[in-house]
């Protein structure tokens, strides 16, 4: 084998090695890119996109099964919880609008816009959303975007709760 061929093989091996190392070390980069592609966290119901900060009254959602209304502990005003069998929406009532401050998925009949649902594994959540902005090992992943957070709570490695909330993390 001449010197030229040895150099070509070596260069080829080095390129392959660099490629493999890059793939191994950057799994999360790919995942993060997935997460970064999500412009804002939203939940979809009957073709309607529901986001934190939306005016509930403008969404034109069907009437909910139950509404719980109480004075808010977090601000001076009324808080309403609309129950829709598989999810709940919490709003802060102002003069002529109701701002959505929470969306809570209650069972595996519904999923996030990106396809995560109750019962999914924590690894699936990472695969969809990438590294969390706040992570409590084996307990929860919280993702933040603009004024909203999306939190997954786990038990034995599987999602038991999914919440969209008004952000309170920096």
């Amino acid at each position: 084998m001449n010197k030229k061929n040895i150099i070509i093989i070596l260069v080829f091996v080095v390129i392959i090695a660099i490629f493999i190392i890059f793939i191994m070390n950057n799994k999360s980069i790919f995942n993060s890119q997935n997460a970064a592609n999500i412009e804002e966290y939203a939940f979809e119901y009957e073709g309607k996109e529901i986001k934190i900060g939306d005016n509930f009254l403008d969404l034109g959602l069907p009437e909910s099964q139950d509404v719980y209304e109480a004075e808010s502990c977090a601000f001076d005003g009324i808080e309403k919880t609309y129950n829709y069998e598989n999810f709940e929406i919490v709003t802060a009532v102002e003069e002529d609008k109701e701002t959505i401050i929470g969306i809570y998925l209650l069972n595996d009949e519904v999923s996030t816009k990106e396809g995560a649902k109750i019962g999914d594994s924590s690894s699936k959540i990472k695969k969809i959303y990438g590294d969390a902005d706040e992570e409590k090992e084996d307990i929860s992943y919280t993702y933040k975007k603009d004024n909203a957070t999306l939190t997954f709570v786990f038990k034995n490695g599987f999602v038991i709760n999914i919440d969209y909330d008004l952000s309170n993390i920096e």
């Binding site: 139950d66 502990c73 709940e88 307990i139 929860s140 939190t151 709570v153 038991i160 709760n161």
Partner: protein, 335 residues
Amino acid sequence: MSRSFKAILIIFVSILILMLLTRILEPKYATNLIEGSFISEYYKEEKNHEVIFIGDCEVYSSFSPMEIYQTSGITSYVRGTPQQLIWQSYYILEETLKYEKPKVVVLSMNCMKYDEPVSEPYNRLTIDKMKWSKQKIDIINASKTENENIFSYLFPILRYHDRWDELSGEDFKYLFTSHKNTYNGYMMVKDIKPVENLPTKRPLIEYQFSEKCYGYLDNIVQLCKNNDIQLIIIKAPSIYPYWYDEYDKQLEEYAKEKQITYINFLYHIEEIGLDYSADTYDSGQHLNLTGAEKLSKYFANYLKENYELTDYRNNPEVNTIYNQKIEEYNKAKEN
């Protein structure tokens, strides 16, 4: 008129104007946001209470000292403020002990869920009307949120200078007076809003009370021990927001370790006779008058049976004072 006298006069008048402006601009908590007045009503009271309640809305809407007195003759006062945090409870208890030494302190545990200052407006409702003391400075330092500073409490005009457009008749009517809003710290609400449905009880990320909260609770336990006061920690029978079993377990263990009493009234709803279709004014978050009276009667009997407390109905001097209070209380019930 000498120049120095003129200068002193100008300074004096300027200070007076500033004080008057401050007084006009600061909230009076007389008929609007009345919860801000609760802390200061205590200062005008006769300080002869054998039982002091400390805590958030779960004490001032759940325990009626008038009902407790009528049932047992035990004198009590509720030093409750909205969303009172555990460090605030500690300093309010410390302040209370400067005025009197109760035999029993009843402390609401709802606050153990919060280990950070929650909101500036709530801080104001607890702190604004406290008398200046070491405890007030300590409570401000412990409670202030990121954007708060002690100067806005020292000089309220810094905080309320932009209230010009919110001023109402109340701000002038109560410029130099106050309005009595409680009955020994109890806030009477007669409305009924039954529990019809509740939001789903969802799992939480964290159930463990923080070291910070336990630290202040330890301080309260110690303060009571040092003053020979028996401490009862309680969870009021508010059914929403949910109280989790994980909270309960921690407090049961804590009470056992510290040899204090823990009562979760949610376990005694039937014995108390609470009916959530009639005894709450906001769908189970707080008890209304009928609910508070049932709980107070139940608790008065518990106190009578388990603690050596005085029946002041046999003391003419105290009884006269309480009869006047009860008359006022009954009048408010009927109105």
